[in-house]
């Protein structure tokens, strides 16, 4: 069961050309730098870009093909824009009722459930201007969900909010991801959000799909190493950098917490990670590893201040700057780059394919 999206849209200095089969459940992230066409693609799927030509097909219906185009108001979608865009002349209750009256969802209880899911029941009598930015966006999401759509489309719902407001909404999005049975398309340019919320990832650039696949495997895919797509500290989003990435983001499952030493234990494809700090309450989190903090050793037994020592294999070595080499490592399914001195490489007698141990410390990514 998939959602088929094959769309072309020609603009003056921009062409969108995508051919996608997206999973019909779970959260799919559309990710890429600003101007890559991810929002335009989302709008086209919703029918908000009538000039887009091609095919949009869900499990339930064909929304668009050569012969026919279902107008926006007849597509069973829930759409959340970057700004909450609540109707200012209506109360929160009437905003939510607006969609329910028109879409006539079959199960009122389920619509009511969206109020609890987003925690907005106490806001129903208010007017939009009496709500904080975060509350407005939660109402907008509930308004979309209350219509019981076949698909939920979220266009950077956090981008217009400051960090405190983001932290306020993210737990609700976590819940959404766990409780919703309908597919969710989530547009974002923030790797943390993508890692935290999505299971499937579509990476776009200049109007086309660069890569797609499971989020956990794509985030460190070899084809992306060397690009800045998942570096956290690149100031210029669009700039492609050939330097090794500064920080890696890995999705890890939370396994347990040792209260005595205040240590979380997590697992990912490369093994077990230990992260000190407060207990992590989410079932899975994104973990950051600083590339410059990865130490290599040939022996596992050495005592080190680094908490994590995991087996890895050396893929290859490439010269980067005078006296330095870039080492590509395979750690489980993840591929990481780090930099070591030429001298160290010869002392350790490093060669391609060699088994090594990576020592590093990790921390929970703060999005």
């Amino acid at each position: 069961m998939t959602i088929e999206v094959h769309l072309t849209l020609q603009r003056e200095n921009f062409t969108l050309q995508t051919s996608l089969s997206l999973p019909a459940s779970g959260v799919t992230a559309l990710y890429g730098p600003s101007g890559c066409g991810k929002t335009t693609l989302l709008r086209a799927i919703a029918g908000l870009e009538p000039a887009a030509q091609g095919i949009v097909k869900t499990n339930q219906a064909t929304w668009q093909d050569k012969q026919h185009f279902t107008p926006v108001h007849k597509r069973a979608i829930g759409y959340v824009f970057q700004e909450a865009s609540l109707f200012e002349h209506l109360t929160v209750y009437d905003n939510i009722a607006y969609g329910m009256k028109r879409r006539q969802p079959h199960n009122r209880v389920e619509s009511e459930f969206s109020l609890d899911l987003l925690g907005i029941r106490h806001l129903l009598d208010r007017h939009p201007e009496q709500l904080s930015g975060g509350e407005q966006q939660r109402v907008a999401i509930a308004r979309a969900l209350a219509t019981q759509p076949d698909m939920l489309l979220l266009d950077e719902p956090l981008a217009a909010l400051d960090n405190a407001r983001k932290q306020e909404i993210l737990p609700y999005l976590d819940k959404l991801q766990q409780k919703l049975s309908i597919p969710v398309l989530y547009v974002s340019h923030d790797p943390h959000e993508v890692c935290r919320l999505s299971q499937y990832l579509v990476i776009m650039d200049e109007g086309t799909v660069v890569e797609q696949g499971a989020t956990s495997s794509l985030m460190s895919a070899p084809s992306l190493s060397g690009s800045s797509l998942f570096t956290v500290s690149q100031p210029e989003e669009n700039q492609i950098s050939h330097l090794s990435r500064d920080k890696y983001i890995i999705k890890a499952r939370v396994d347990g917490f040792d209260a005595e030493s205040s240590l979380n234990s997590l697992s990912f494809s490369g093994g077990t990670l230990l992260i000190p700090g407060e207990e992590i309450t989410q079932p899975s989190v994104c973990v950051e590893i600083a590339a410059s903090n990865i130490h290599l050793t040939t022996q596992p037994g050495q005592v080190s201040s680094m908490l994590n020592t995991l087996p890895c294999s050396l893929i290859d070595l490439q010269p980067c700057s005078p006296g330095y080499l870039t080492v590509r490592l395979k750690l489980g399914d993840e591929i990481l780059n780090t930099r070591i001195s030429r001298k160290a490489a010869s002392t350790m007698a490093l060669r391609n394919g060699q088994r090594l141990f990576a020592q590093f410390s990790a921390e929970v990514a703060s999005s």
């Binding site: 908000l48 107008p71 759409y79 824009f81 969609g99 028109r102 879409r103 979309a144």
Partner: protein
Amino acid sequence: MDVNDFTALMLTLKLAGITTIILLLISTPLAWWLATSQWRYRFLAEAVIALPLVLPPTVIGFYLLALMGPNGPIGELVRWLGFRPLTFSFTGLVVGSVFYSLPFVVQPLQNSFVRIGKRPLEVAATLGASPKDQFFSIVLPLARPGFLTAAVLGFAHTLGEFGVVLMIGGNIPGETQVISIAIYDHVEALEYSQAHGLSAGLLLLSFILLMIVYGLNRRFSVVRL
């Protein structure tokens, strides 16, 4: 106030009322089109609609007279259809007033439509509202201050009409003699106290109307409409 002045006042209010209703009906679709159209030559339409803002009313009146007079194309059409000529009639005044006050109604509406923008309509569409439904459930309520401004400005501007009326309507009591013409008559006849009475009345009425517009718009703007 003598009977004649009272008749002129009532006629003026009737003219302004009817004109405002017709203008709202014409201007709503026109302003919506101007606010949303991508047409390249839209500016031409905007310029034509704005003409009464800058032209002397006598110029508008002169051309309307030429068009609606017995030898003008509209005049001939009206005669062919079997109606009374429009010149020197109340109907003619209504037609003239509609042209004369058009920009005062179209522009506030157009501005408020533009200010609403596309986003609320897109949201409404994703919530299942058809284009017609979007207009009545979103655009109309959000543009309420614009409609209020448009109605009051159209009404008040028609109240003060003089040049156009003089050209196409003349000065027939009970038919085309509006209040501004009555004031002119009084001054011509050196009846300053009557002129003053009517003038003060018109001044007060206009002031009250404008106060309502600005007062209500301030109240509404709390909801940032």
